[in-house]
């Protein structure tokens, strides 16, 4: 089968800094990809390029057969994007916000309203759906964002830190939703810091460090490639952050310094 996401020689530079270096990826339909890396590794930038938000980059990126540089609109129609750090219009109510987003995808008003209400209800937000989001907690906003990203039933879902701020019950629910989405043939590409979630639900794990892919394979593959232990161990080994015990010791030492 043809790849749904394919990048060739993807490179992104901001002024002098190179954020992404020669990223080559082929992602098959129905795959769940866990995209992990330390802060500032280029995770969000990769996702923003794949979703057509940042049109200036070097190399080729195709999503669902569309070149995201020239056919961004066609690609955007079929993908869902859930950004990090709860970016939404807080002065609106969840219903108003979802109706706004739904209309941008040219869904029928009745469809939007019915879907939004049902999804909010499933996320335990039924009581708050007519309240402004200024007072919402981060987790509540994250739920609204999750719905906003999936309202148009996209073929590929891009999630940037989808679990941040969610309480334990919501994390389990979102995990299950991702599993169900995968079963219905959707492709999921998400970045996260929560290693055990990535370990459990990803078909494939891609580790990026300083703009370069340093590992790409299933959890068992990564595990077999001479690195033993949990994903967390593999991650720290690969990203060259092996001295964490030593650093922690120095940290305590520094607190005791006079």
């Amino acid at each position: 089968m043809a790849s749904v996401i394919s990048t060739q020689g993807l490179t992104k530079k901001y002024q002098k800094a190179t954020v992404l270096k020669n990223i080559n990826l082929e992602i098959q339909p129905g795959e769940v990809i866990g995209y992990i890396g330390p802060n500032g590794a280029g995770k969000s930038t990769t996702i923003k390029i794949m979703t057509g938000i940042i049109p200036e980059f070097e190399g080729e990126v195709n999503v669902l057969g569309f070149d995201v540089r020239t056919q961004a609109l066609e690609a955007k129609r079929k993908i869902g994007y859930i950004p990090e750090n709860a970016a939404l219009y807080e002065v609106l109510t969840p219903l108003e916000y979802l109706s706004f987003v739904g209309q941008l995808y040219q869904l029928e008003k009745e469809v939007i309203s019915a879907r939004a209400k049902e999804l909010l209800n499933l996320f335990d937000l039924a009581k708050q759906m007519e309240m402004r989001m200024t007072t919402f907690s981060k987790g509540m906003k994250q739920k609204v964002l999750l719905i906003a990203g999936m309202l148009h039933n996209p073929d590929i879902l891009f999630l940037d830190e989808p679990l941040s701020g969610l309480d334990a019950n919501a994390v389990i629910l979102v995990k299950e939703i991702l599993v169900q989405l995968k079963k219905s043939g959707k492709t999921i590409f998400y970045s996260s810091h929560i290693m055990d979630v990535v370990e459990k639900i990803s078909d494939r794990i891609i580790i990026i460090n300083k703009g370069e892919i340093i590992a790409n394979g299933s959890f068992t593959e990564l595990n077999n490639a001479a690195h033993q232990g949990s994903l967390e161990d593999i991650f720290t080994q690969l990203t060259g952050n092996r001295e964490h015990i030593e650093v922690a010791e120095q940290f305590i030492q520094a607190l005791n310094n006079k």
């Binding site: 901001y14 002024q15 057509g52 609109l73 066609e74 609106l92 941008l104 309240m131 200024t134």
Partner: protein, 552 residues
């Protein structure tokens, strides 16, 4: 209101479709933006009701309306049609551009669109159209307030043909201002970083506020100038370089029926520029604009390390503050005063008001400059000037408690602070060192230049008296930690009764000072008293307890 505006936009559906804009999407975005505008400034933002009244917006409209009335007067009294029209259009373009930069920049450069709208299937053309439509709606409301007075005056004085044409040139001026500012943004975005762009906008905002205040004082003074009474003014070739004159020239064709090359060139420029520029904007700029905007949110180029505070401030800091809590508070507040844009926006215009005040006090008479100067040194106007500094310091002291990041104020409550009075003192000293000392220094130079040695004793006494009143203010006001109050209407306005009280105190001190100058050695005799009082207040602020602190 929103429903009405949207229905009105729908009349132009064909135009949008013709430009290749997705009308449904655009309508959705504009309607949502208008809804959010309505909710933005509503007093008591916690209420869940749909407030359709935007208090601050109405306030702006009233001010603009008054300025507009002023221009109806100008049109009525100035004999030269060309001059009055040039003035009107200059004023319109200036006001609209400045409003766009200062008031509307947050909407124009809203980077939350990056994550909210850019991932959706919305073409950059549609997004730009939505932005422009949103701006045009906003501007139309403002322009109506600004131009209504002038339009009515024109209809009455020059008849309906000129009046109707003035409506057209008003719209052309609006377009011109819109293109001007949009172009400015594009250029700035092209060449500067986000941080610099925000700084530049900040300066525009300061200039705008300053101008609004100055306009009331300075415009009436201009009125008496001779050149405005010259009715024989004619258009020459250089009018082609001055956009407001294009509009005036266009109107003059119909007013005085002169059709010469200069008039025709003006008319062509007036109409041509707007059309061509609008075309260019939609053709070339739309994609650049949203791309640049996308970059605004994402560029995380490490900011070059800034040179940390001036040597003067650092030097004084070590002398006037004690180690620990007080110095920490001093550092925090002096850094905020130097960097927080919102704080600067509130502070600098009030400093400007002193300058205007000085000009008004000094050059009030109709006499010549030299005559005024000679008279001045006999008057006691400098006392007025000395105590006007307090008004600025008072504004800063109130503002320094308010911050967008008020939530960070928890540190004061979490830290084991045994003497909260030290926090207040540190903050107070930072305000004095950053603003009071420099402003008072300039005033000292000014007073010594004009009043010579006569003013020296007043300056010394005034210095202590000013400091004394700032301390009194802290004592009688509710005490807040710096940067710890939410910026809402209640906190911004302050307690009216207390403000009046403080004004009375400064008035009394100023008047007392004036009376003392009438007594021989009066100032010198009361000097120990004011020093003593100041020290007493200082100790009182320092001894503030936790129960006296208003945690908001």
């Amino acid at each position: 209101m929103i429903a009405f505006l949207i229905r009105f936009i729908s009349l132009f559906k064909w135009l949008y479709n013709w430009m290749g804009v997705d009308f449904q999407q655009m309508k959705t975005i504009v309607a949502t933006k208008l809804l959010m505008d309505n909710r933005r400034h509503v007093v008591g933002a916690t209420s869940q009701k749909d407030g359709n009244v935007n208090a601050s917006f109405i306030g702006v409209m009233v001010i603009y309306g008054i300025l507009g009335l002023f221009f109806s007067y100008i049109i009525y009294v100035i004999p030269s049609f060309l001059i009055s029209m040039t003035m009107y259009h200059s004023y319109l373009i200036l006001m609209v551009s400045l409003t766009l930069v200062s008031d509307f920049s947050s909407v124009l450069l809203d980077t939350s669109d990056n994550t909210i709208i850019l991932p959706r299937p919305v073409s950059s053309k549609t997004l730009l159209a939505a932005r422009v439509t949103h701006i045009v709606i906003y501007l139309t409301q403002i322009t109506i307030a600004l131009s209504l007075g002038a339009l009515v005056a024109t209809f009455i004085k020059f008849g309906w043909v000129i009046g109707f044409l003035l409506m057209i040139t008003t719209i052309l001026s609006l377009l011109f201002a819109l293109i001007l500012t949009n172009g400015l943004y594009l250029v700035l975005m092209r060449f500067t970083s986000e941080e610099k762009l925000k700084n530049i906008i900040n300066y525009f905002q300061i200039a705008m506020t300053f101008l609004m205040m100055g306009a009331y004082q300075i415009l009436p003074r201009l009125m008496s100038k001779n050149f405005l009474e010259d009715s024989s003014f004619v258009l020459t070739w250089w009018a082609a370089l001055v956009p407001p004159m294009w509009m005036a020239g266009l109107l003059d064709i119909f007013y005085s029926s002169t059709v010469d090359s200069v008039h025709v060139v003006c008319a062509l420029f007036a109409i041509g520029f707007s059309v061509v520029a609008a075309f260019l904007m939609s053709k070339f700029f739309s994609s650049t604009f949203s791309e640049k905007l996308a970059d605004l949110g994402t560029t995380n180029v490490a900011a070059e390390p800034k040179q940390n505070r001036s040597g003067f401030l650092l030097g004084t800091r070590n002398i006037i503050t004690t180690q620990g809590i007080e110095r920490a508070s001093f550092d925090l507040v002096s850094a905020a005063l130097a960097r927080d844009r919102k704080l600067k926006l509130k502070i600098y215009p009030s400093i400007g008001s002193i300058v205007i005040l000085a000009v008004v006090v000094v050059f009030n008479g109709k006499e010549s400059f030299q005559g005024t100067l000679n008279n001045l040194s006999n008057l006691s106007a400098h006392i007025f000037l000395i105590y006007s500094v307090f008004l600025v310091i008072q504004t800063i002291m109130t503002q320094v408690c308010i911050s967008d990041y008020f939530k960070a104020g928890w540190v004061f409550n979490a830290a084991p602070i045994n003497k909260p009075g030290l926090v207040l003192l540190g903050s107070w000293k930072a305000v004095l060192a950053s603003f009071f000392v420099p402003i008072y220094g300039v005033i000292t130079v000014f007073v010594v230049l004009i009043w010579k040695t006569n003013g020296v004793d007043d300056l010394i006494f005034g210095l202590v008296a000013n400091i004394f009143v700032t301390l009194i203010t802290i004592i009688v006001s509710s005490k807040h930690f710096p940067l710890s109050l939410e910026p809402n209407a209640k906190n911004q306005a302050g307690n009216f009764v207390k403000v009046i009280l403080i004004m009375m105190i400064i008035g009394a001190i100023g008047f007392g000072h004036y009376l003392l100058t009438k007594v021989e050695y009066g100032l010198w005799i009361s000097f120990p008293l004011i020093i003593g009082l100041t020290y007493f207040c200082y100790a009182k602020v320092k001894a503030s307890t936790w129960s006296q602190i208003d945690l908001g």
